[in-house]
């Protein structure tokens, strides 16, 4: 029962704050709402039993990416600035499109999952994650890991190249 209550709380937090994040008038506020959404997602990962993913989500998303966002907002906006409101027609179009898409996809989900899947009791230990990440055999992930490291290097070089003053 405690799981359901926690899931309800996280669901309400995610739904409310993700809608507030995209409709807020001030950028810094939407960044804060986005932070709440990301932390609640980390809570969902705990609820599913993936503790390592919780740590990664908290450190990378809620830590790193949010700092980047806040820096960018403070660099490009005066504190307290409001964004000029978008035209009503564009906003109505976007609302209609999202609501239609939401209804359509929710209908598909509700009608195509007709079995009740129960949560099997498995434990993924950090040792197992490390062995899987570093192995070269089948179902092991050394190559993507190396690719990610090259991508991060390229991203550092690209970020410096783009943002430096000429």
């Amino acid at each position: 029962m405690a799981q359901q209550i926690i899931f309800y709380i996280l669901a309400i937090v995610i739904s409310v704050f993700s809608i507030m994040a995209v409709s807020s008038k001030r950028l810094i506020r939407s960044a804060t709402y986005l932070l709440f959404v990301l932390l609640a997602t980390a809570g969902l990962y705990i609820l599913l039993g993936y503790y390592y993913l919780f740590a990664v989500q908290t450190a990378v998303y809620a830590g790193g990416i949010m700092i980047l966002f806040i820096f960018a907002i403070l660099l490009t906006q005066k504190p307290g600035d409001k964004i000029a409101p978008e035209p009503m027609r564009q906003r109505l179009l976007a609302i209609a499109l999202s609501v239609i898409g939401l209804a359509f996809t929710a209908h598909i989900i509700m009608h195509n999952i007709n079995r009740v899947y129960t949560l099997m009791d498995t434990q993924i230990t950090t040792k197992h994650i490390g062995m899987t990440l570093m192995g070269t055999e089948k179902f092991q992930y050394l190559l993507p890991f190396e690719l990610i490291s090259v991508l991060l290097l390229a991203c550092i070089v690209g970020g410096i190249m783009i943002a430096r003053r000429r």
Binding site: M1, Q3, F7, A11, I14, S15, S18, I19, A21, V22, S23, L27, S30, L34, T41, L44, L47, L48, L53, V56, V60, Y61, I65, L68, F69, F71, A72, L75, T76, I83, E86, R91, L93, A94, L97, S98, G101, L102, T105, I109, M110, H111, I113, V116, Y117, T118, L119, M120, I124, I129, T132, P144, I148, L151, L152, A154, G159, I162, A163, R165
Partner: protein
């Protein structure tokens, strides 16, 4: 169709509940992506969309293939890729701000080279 709500009281969280939750997050992101004009708001919407996709990968992995780890690692790598994407995008946003002094999508056509200089 309303199995979701009746299963809720019987002790397990059904998979559809997670999927509907990530669906709401995804379409909030779609709404922001279409309707907002500021580049940073568009980036925030993209983060919401990526996060919803991550939740889906993890939930499918946990409920359908609990012994495997494919979805888990896909979510892990997606988080790393989205960190890269955000860093480069914010570098571009700051560069645009330096040139145009605002970050609206509408003013981006001014970034073209003037025709007369060629």
């Amino acid at each position: 169709m309303f199995d979701v709500f009746s299963n809720f009281s019987s002790g397990i969280i059904p998979m559809e509940a997670y999927l509907l939750l990530s669906l709401v997050m995804f379409f909030a992101g779609i709404y922001g992506f279409i309707s907002r004009k500021s580049l940073l708001m568009i980036l925030i919407s993209i983060e919401l969309i990526l996060n919803a996709a991550d939740i889906n990968f993890v939930v499918f992995n946990r409920y359908l293939y609990a012994g495997h780890m494919e979805g888990f690692f896909f979510a892990l790598f997606t988080i790393a890729v989205s960190a890269c994407e955000t860093a480069v995008a914010i570098a571009i946003v700051i560069n645009i701000y330096r040139n145009l002094h605002n970050v609206n999508v509408d003013s981006l056509h001014e970034l073209h080279e003037p025709e007369s200089e060629q």
